[in-house]
Amino acid sequence: MSEAPFGRRLLTVTGVDELGAYRVLRVADRDMPQSGWQAGDLHPGQFAMLTAVERWGGGEGERPYLPRAFSVARRTDSEAHFLLEDVGPGTQRLCELRAGDQLWVLAPLGRGFTPPSDGRRALLVGGGVGIAPLAIHQDTLVGGTGAGPQDLQAPAGRVPGVEVTVLLGFRDSSRATGAALLDRAQVATDDGSVGHHGLVTELLAAEIERDPHAIVYACGPAGMLEGVRALCERTGTSAQLALEAGMACGYGACFGCVVPKRGGGYLRVCVDGPVIDAAELEHVDAHAGGAGGTR
């Protein structure tokens, strides 16, 4: 896993693309490592703390004030991409950014996913903006031949012959549009407007049935993650969950981003996570939930 340079870096927005209910924020960044599994690499699941240079630290209701956490959704050789959902003042401000605007970026932070060992199948399960870390995870595992843009260089991390299955759940069709961020995704929607009418965990159960040795990589709303955790506990499937928590610093300084650890005590999502082995958790509680930071 790569170390972050000490201190925020001042980067420039290259563009913000609409993706259904979401936005893809593209930032010019040649210094962040490419994704992979070696020590110096950017590990899929690592995140960044973002602050807009202009109009941050005030405004109606005087928020946002602190930086906000976002998974690196994609790494091209010249850009870092972030998937945004406007759920409050910080994400709203970031969604308003335009090409040329400047951004403070502290990254890469946290512990990411670890690749599947000895050719086991990777089940990528996500929902809402939780699909962001799964996108770069897929890019990295399959060598970026997936839904990634052309200039996506084949990452160091390519795992030869690994089989990747992508299962994504969304509330409605405008959100399901986000599935385009990944390659060959099976989609479930709560309202049945796209794909399977129901929960993504139902699709997951079927896949696990078929292949109990698969490894699950999940990121999404708290409810979904808890469903995945409970299911994998029952079936004895190993799962890596990318959690969220309200964060002030993102680098272990404030002790604000904790989730309860199995057997007592707490884990700091920013340094002990965001990717945490499901076995370390008794349950995923509402505050460790997917899209929506402190929700």
Binding site: Y65, F255, V259
Partner: protein
């Protein structure tokens, strides 16, 4: 209580010694340096206790942290006699120009700190000093106890460790259920300080509580008890309610009264920090510096060199940066360079 005029940096002679040094040194392009309780610091900016976990930062940033260590002295988070896991989440709430925290002082307890954390911290401050071609960055250990006895044990144990350059007593943390807040009562405070004073020859800093009627009287009590310095302000007692609808924005709600709503923070209430408390901090530091002879460490909402200078101009010798480090891990260096 209004400030006596003639104070607040109005009077040349009232400025801390290092400022003239700083003035000269800037002219000569040399690094500034400050005497603080017998310690020599390269600049006046340190961290607020509990706002910078050097061990975690070292893991996240690697040697780059040592090369650009942002503080001229490093203050540990508060250590208690027994281990604490801290408060249940959520622990954070963003406010108008600030932050409420309800962390609950998680720490490994005295034994765990001395055995596991202190050696790592010692290595970090040594590395940070070495990177600048100097000795170790002075390490200050912050301790809290519910009684004079507890504090004595903590201070006594720190006294025996050469890695520890100074000790800070936290008699003020508002978001932990210690029952009575010793720091708020001058009489009690003086007793406690004089008791622990005998347990150490190291510089003893008392971190005052801002949640009191007369902080200057408390500072004076600490001084009479034998404190070598006082530090302030800690966070102001504050709280927040859970937002009505998740994702709902402040100010956006139609605000139906009487909806059943709980407290947001797992710990119930917490402490306000950040820009919102800056003017309160300036008043308290000013009132304290006007009354006590020992050096004062000022903090509260410092985001820039201007804010640090304000505290220095009202009599602070050192300035601590807390919440701003969350926004910018290198804030300490940025501010020190701006001086």
């Amino acid at each position: 209580m209004p400030m006596p005029e003639g104070r607040a940096g109005l009077d040349e002679r009232a400025w801390p010694r290092w400022i003239s040094v700083l003035g000269r040194s800037r002219a000569k392009g040399r690094a500034m340096s400050i005497e603080f309780c017998g310690l020599t610091l390269v600049h006046p900016i340190i961290n607020g206790s509990g706002t910078f976990d050097a061990i975690a930062a070292r893991r996240v940033f690697g040697d780059a942290l040592l090369a650009d260590f942002p503080f001229s002295a490093y203050v540990s988070k508060t250590i208690t006699l027994e281990p604490r896991v801290g408060n249940p989440p959520p622990r954070l709430w963003e406010t108008a120009a600030g932050l409420i925290n309800s962390i609950g002082l998680p720490n490994k307890g005295l034994r765990g700190y001395l055995a596991e954390d202190l050696p790592q911290l010692a290595e970090i401050v040594a590395g940070a000093g070495a990177a600048a071609g100097r000795g170790p960055v002075p390490l200050i250990t912050n301790v809290m106890g519910a009684s004079a006895e507890e504090l004595s044990t903590l201070v006594g144990a720190c006294e025996e460790r050469p890695e520890i350059a100074a000790i800070e007593l936290n008699v003020s943390c508002p978001n932990v259920k210690t029952g009575l807040d010793i720091g708020a009562d001058p009489v009690q405070l003086e007793q406690v300080v004089s008791t622990v004073r005998n347990r150490t020859g190291k510089p003893l800093i008392v971190k005052l509580t801002p949640n009191t009627a007369d902080v200057a009287a408390c500072a004076q009590a600490a001084e009479q008890g034998g404190a070598d310095a006082v530090s302030l302000i800690n966070t102001l007692r504050a709280t927040a309610l859970a937002p009505r609808r998740s994702g709902q924005r402040a100010g956006e709600s139609d605000g139906r009264a009487g909806e059943s709503r709980g407290l947001w923070l797992g710990g119930g209430s917490g402490g306000q920090s950040g820009p919102a408390i800056r003017a309160v901090a300036l008043a308290q530091v000013s009132a304290v510096a006007a009354l006590v002879g020992v050096p004062v460490i000022g903090m509260g909402g410092v985001q820039s060199a201007v804010h640090a200078c304000d505290l220095i101009d009202v009599g602070a010798t050192l300035v601590a940066v807390g919440t701003e480090s969350f926004r910018d891990p290198a804030a300490g260096s940025r501010i020190a360079l701006g001086l």
